[in-house]
Structure formats: C-alpha cells, structure tokens
C-alpha cells in the first residue's frame, strides 16, 4: 500500500480500488432507479407539458397491490407485476381522461393542484388501507438474499461484488428503454405519440386522435411507475406509504438534468444524479450522508443555471 496523501475534507479511502468500484456500482444502481422514475416523468411531460406530482404515490399504490397479490395471495411475483402494470395503465389513462382533460383549457395551476390532491388521496388512502408501518416481507422480483451476488474482485479487502438486485435494476432500465424506443420509433401508435409531442395542433389537423395520445402518455407513465415501484421497494428494502416521495424528487431531478422531453436524457440524468448523490458524501467528509436531497437540489440549481433545457432536452421557441 502506498502512502496516502491526506487532504483535509477528503475521504482518502474513497480512492481504494474496490471501495471506489463498489461506490460506483451503488451509484449507478441508485441512478438506474431514478432513471425509471424519470422515464415516467418524461412520458407525461412530452405530450401534456405537465408534471405529475402524484406519480410517486401512484407507483407506491401499485406496489402495495403487487404486495397483496404476490405475498398475501401467493401469486408468482412477475405475474402479479404484469397484472398490476396492466391495471395501472388503464387507471392512468382513466385519470387523464376523467380528471386532467377537463382542466386542459384552464390555467397551468389547475392540473398541478389536481395532481397534488391525488398525491394526498393516494398517500392517505394507502396509510388507511395498509397502515403506516413498513410491510414485510417485501415482494422480491429479483433474488435478494445476502449471497445473491456476483463476486468480481475477492483478492482485496473489501471485496467487490455486484448484487443480483442491482443487475435486475439495470436490466429493467435497458429492457424498458428498448421497448419504449421500439414502440415510439417503429409503430404507428408511437409515430402519432411523437407527432402530438412535437405539435399537438398540427397533429389534430392531420387526424391524429390527440386526446388519446395524452391518455397514452399517462398510461405508459403509470405502467412504468408500477414496475419501478416494485423494483424500488425491493432495491431500497422498504415498502410503506411514504417510500416513493423522495424517489420522485430524484426522478424529477434526473428528468431535469437530462431534459424533460428526452428518454435518453432521463436515463443519463438518472445515472448522473445517482453518482452525485452517492459520491459526494463518500468523497467529502464535510458532507453528511443525510444530505443527499440537498445535493440533488444543488444539481437541479446548477443545471438550470448552466443549461436550462437539460442535457438532451430541446429548447422551446415561442412567437407572439
């Protein structure tokens, strides 16, 4: 071992190879989780231009249903997830149709306030139905025991390994992004969706059912959210009525960094936010680990100062 240069405020262990790699995998796995939430944010924002503040709570509610089906009713976990995803998509589209669409002609405040209302109804509803205590056991889409991991470097201490859970999160993100790209780039439905995202008025003129595309955005977001919820619950090892509130903020941050209308941006933004969140407390001794929320807030502020439309986002130009 070489002598380590001691710099005040810097955690020198940070640069130990295996520890660094371990931090990096944690960061990228956390980041993938945020990318999942950012994807839901993007799917709605692209067509409607809204932020859905109830997104996290919708995912939380879906996850509780997965819990009921998989743990209480003993269904296969993936079957339960598929059922819940389909159900969530239908409900997401229904919420858009019944609650959001009538407000489209009103000010931008109305839909925001409506989603805040939904946030409270779902949050309080879950607390009423399932109680305020965390649920156990948590439904596990991926093998989650302590020894369910791939050892990569065992010659040094600490060992460097990747858990199946982390691999599962990455696989989910990749599969979802591929599927979304196929849907949006290779199908007629996707073409219509992208047309509405680009210009709703012109789409209406050429006969695209714009309102249905807005519903599609919500349906996709609710479906992705349901998958994300189940995976995040296992990955973070917590399932209670509040577990998605902070994750949603990280998702928003990821979407903000990547650009609100870019799928690629959501993934890259999510990974970046994960890296910042994990690395700053690990590298700087003067940043407490409970401050990850603050770090993310700073990331959003910096992005808005430097590149307001996000890394991959498109700039909006407006004429009078």
């Amino acid at each position: 071992m070489s002598a380590v240069l001691a710099i005040p405020g810097i955690e020198h262990n940070f640069f130990t190879l295996t520890l660094f790699l371990q931090n990096l995998t944690n960061a990228l796995a956390n980041g993938a989780v945020y990318a999942l939430m950012a994807l839901t944010v993007v799917m709605i924002y692209k067509t409607t231009g809204h932020l859905n503040f109830a997104q996290g709570e919708m995912a939380m509610f879906s996850t509780f249903i997965v819990y009921v089906l998989a743990i209480e009713q003993g269904l296969n976990i993936w079957l339960a997830i598929v059922i819940v995803v389909v159900g969530s998509m239908v409900l997401g589209a229904a919420i858009e149709r019944v609650l959001i669409q009538p407000l489209e002609s009103r000010s931008v405040l109305a839909p925001v306030i409506l989603t805040l209302g939904l946030f409270f109804i779902l949050n309080g509803g879950a607390a009423t139905i399932w109680g305020t205590q965390p649920k156990t056991p948590i439904p596990a889409p991926f093998p989650g025991h302590l020894d369910d991991k791939v050892d990569i470097i065992t010659s040094r201490v600490p060992h460097f390994f990747v858990t199946y859970k982390a691999l599962g999160v990455w696989a989910t993100v990749i599969v979802l992004v591929v599927l979304l790209n196929l849907l949006l780039k290779r199908t007629k439905l996707g073409l219509a969706y992208r047309a509405v995202a680009a210009n709703a008025e012109s789409s209406l003129i050429v006969g695209i059912p714009v309102k249905r595309m807005l519903m599609l955005g919500w349906a996709l977001a609710a479906g992705i959210g349901a998958i994300a919820g189940a995976i995040i619950a296992q990955y973070r090892n917590v399932l209670d009525f509040n577990f998605m509130a902070a994750v949603l903020l990280f998702g928003f941050a990821a979407a903000c960094v990547g650009g609100f209308d870019s799928i690629m941006g959501a993934v890259v933004g999510g990974l970046l936010v994960g890296v910042v969140e994990t690395f700053t407390p690990a590298l700087f001794t003067f940043v407490g680990s409970e401050l990850s929320l603050v770090m993310v807030l700073l990331v959003i502020l910096i992005v808005l100062y430097v590149r307001p439309q996000g890394l991959f986002g498109s700039k909006r130009v407006e004429r009078v």
Partner: protein
C-alpha cells in the same frame, strides 16, 4: 318578479359604506377571539392567523404571478427558526426579529428564484419541491458543508422559546403591557400582536397588487410573451415576486414561532407546503381575502373533521386528514374553481354589483362624432346598470 341587484359605483358613498362594513367585520372577528373564545383557543386562532400570512405570501407567487411553489413550508420554517433562535439564544425582542426573518426569506427566495424563474415552465415547482423535502434535512444536519446546523437549531428535538433567566408562561417576556385592558391573558396579547402584524401585511400586499408592479405580474401571468413585449421584464418581475412572497411567508413563520412557542424540523415539511396550497385554493386564488379564509380553514378543518363521525370512514385520524385535503382540492378545482371567495362573490352579485366609476360625459368634445358615440355608449351603460 325577479329583483335586479343593487348597482353600486366604486368609490361612491354607498361603496364606502360597504367597505366600512368589511372593516367592521375584521374588528368583529378580532373582538370575538379576544373576548368570547376560551383562552386556549385564542392561541389556535393566533396560529391560524400566522398561517393566513404564510398563505398570503404564497398567493403573491401562485395567485398573481401564476407559478406554483411547493416550498413555502421552508420559508415559513426559515422565519420561525430565525425568530426562535434570536429570541431564545440571543435575547432579542420579538418585533426586532421579524425584519431579520423577512430579509433571510427574501434572500433565499431570490437565490432559488433566479435560476428557476429565468425560464418558463414548471421549474419553480420542481425546485421548491426539493426545497420542501430538503429543509427538514438541513435543519437536522450536523455537517452541512462543515456547518453544524443541528447545534444551532436544536436538530430533531426542535426548539423552545426560553430566554435566560426570564421564566413566564411563554418562556420570555411577551405578557400584556400595562395599558392593556383588565383580564387580558398572555394568549390574548399574542393574538393581538399577530393579528396587527397580519392586518398590516394584508394591507401592504393588497396595495402592492394594485400598483403597477401588481398589474405587471398579472399581465405576465395571463400572457407572458405579450407582457414581455409590452415592457414587463418577466425574469425580474417573477424573481422579485417570488422573493417578496418568501419574505411575507417568513414573517408569518416568525409570528408562528411566537404563537406556538415550540417548533421542530418536521413542522415545516412537504405536508405543510401542501396545506398552504390547499388553503389558498380553498380560500380563493388571486384574492386578498382568500388567504385569510384559507389559513383559518387549514388550522381548524382537520380539528373539525376529526370531531365528526363520518358515514363510511368513521372517525378520521392522522394521515387521513390528507385524504380530506386531497378530496377537497379535487372538488374545489372542479366545482368551485375560484374557491370560497368566488363563491361568496357569486352569491353577493345576486344582491349587490360593484361597477367601476364611469367618467362623466364631457360636453366640450361633444362636437366630434367619436366622442358623441362614446358618450352615448356611456349613457347606455349607465342606464343598463340603473
């Protein structure tokens, strides 16, 4: 036969009489709380008034400049902690802490507002959501970039007003002064203080909204590009509006510290922010009276709701207050978009209608055809209303 509403010209003696009625109602509320309600409730009413002030601040940014802030709980907290720390640890008199609380709120508001408001869209709501979630964490943190906030703010334990040797009912000197009427308790005096500050802030805000700044804000809210073309600089106006709104809410927070005497980090979380928004929407967005009603409802509604035995739900408790707020928000947005104040206005307009004062027709120009036309339109308008 359907009776027509009474038409009152603004600034006419009759209109002044109606305004006097409003002022009397405010005084009536004040004397009701001080003299009629029991001593313990006076403090809850004082807290309701501080919440009204906070919502008044939120109204400047959400109601008049059309940006949603989900972080006003943090400004409320900044004000409350500033007042609390200055009184408890530095022995400042209460009133002297309010300017400091307001200034701090203003500065934080500007720092947050500048990046979020340069660009259009929902960025402010995004950043302020982060602020609402981060504020309790910062208050509890013991190494925030090397600063030990927990040692200043009391960390998770919160903070209690208590100043050195002084031991009174409120932990420091805020007893009724010698000139106060007999029988005034400390609670009455606290309510009076908070109430007077609130009235001053409501009047100032009302004036601000009627000034050119207020008109600029409203123009920008309704058509930003159009307003910019007409010489309203969106970024400047929006940042200023947001910082001012943070200032007002911070002062509300300072008053809250006085009224509640104990504060903790989780008093100022996301829940509080959404309560503010709910209060504003229920009371009436972009009205001066709306925040006053909203503050009272936010403080008392859960209390009243928990008393009732509901048909299906039974007795409500804890997190279920959230469901109540949620449903009220959704219902208000759909069925009473302007909130209670607009509802009241609708009913009032069946009996009384206030119209702007019409300029007197000017004979000297009557020779010109256009003026003749204008005069005749004015005449018709008058007749229609009378």
């Amino acid at each position: 036969m359907k009776s027509l509403p009474l038409v009152v010209e603004r600034k006419s003696p009759t209109h002044r009489a109606f305004q006097l009625l409003g002022v009397l109602a405010v005084f009536g509320f004040y004397f009701y709380v001080v003299n009629v309600v029991e001593n313990f409730s006076a403090i809850r009413w004082a807290i309701a008034v501080t919440l009204s002030v906070a919502i008044l601040g939120l109204n400047i940014v959400t109601g008049y400049s059309g940006q949603i802030s989900i972080g006003h709980s943090a400004f409320f907290g900044i004000g409350a902690y500033t007042t609390m720390i200055l009184i408890a640890d530095h022995g400042w008199p209460f009133l002297a802490t309010l300017p400091v609380a307001g200034a701090l709120g203003f500065i934080v508001g500007a720092v947050i507002g500048i990046p979020a408001l340069r660009i259009r869209g929902l960025y402010l709501s995004l950043i302020t959501l982060g602020l609402a979630l981060a504020f309790p964490a910062i208050v509890k943190s013991d190494s925030f970039f090397g600063i030990n906030f927990a040692s200043i703010t009391g960390g998770s334990n919160g903070k209690v007003i208590s100043s050195g040797e002084v031991t009174t009912t409120r932990g420091f000197h805020w007893n009724p002064p010698s000139w106060a009427p007999d029988g005034w308790t400390t609670n009455d005096w606290v309510f009076t203080t908070v109430f007077v500050i609130a009235v001053v802030l409501f009047v100032l805000t009302s004036n601000l909204i009627r000034s050119s700044v207020g008109r600029g804000l409203i123009a920008m809210r309704d058509n930003e590009t159009g307003a910019a073309v007409s010489g309203v600089y969106p970024a400047q106006y929006k940042v200023l509006a947001f910082a001012t709104s943070a200032l007002v809410t911070s002062i509300g927070g300072g008053c809250f510290a006085l009224a509640s005497t104990t504060i903790g980090p989780d008093t100022f979380g996301l829940q509080r922010s959404i309560e503010f928004i709910a209060g504003l929407v229920i009371g009436g967005v972009a009205t001066i009276l709306g925040p006053a009603i909203g503050g009272v409802l936010v403080e008392w509604l859960p209390y009243w709701a928990f008393e009732v035995n509901w048909p299906i739900l039974g007795k409500l408790e804890g997190p279920q207050a959230g469901i109540l707020y949620g449903f009220i928000l959704v219902l208000i947005i759909f069925f009473m978009p302007g909130g209670i104040v607009y509802g009241i206005r609708q009913i009032r307009s069946k009996f009384v209608v206030f119209v702007p004062r019409l300029p007197a027709p000017q004979e000297i120009y009557a020779a010109r055809p256009a003026d003749v036309a204008i005069a005749s339109v004015q005449q018709t308008t008058r007749e229609r209303y009378q």
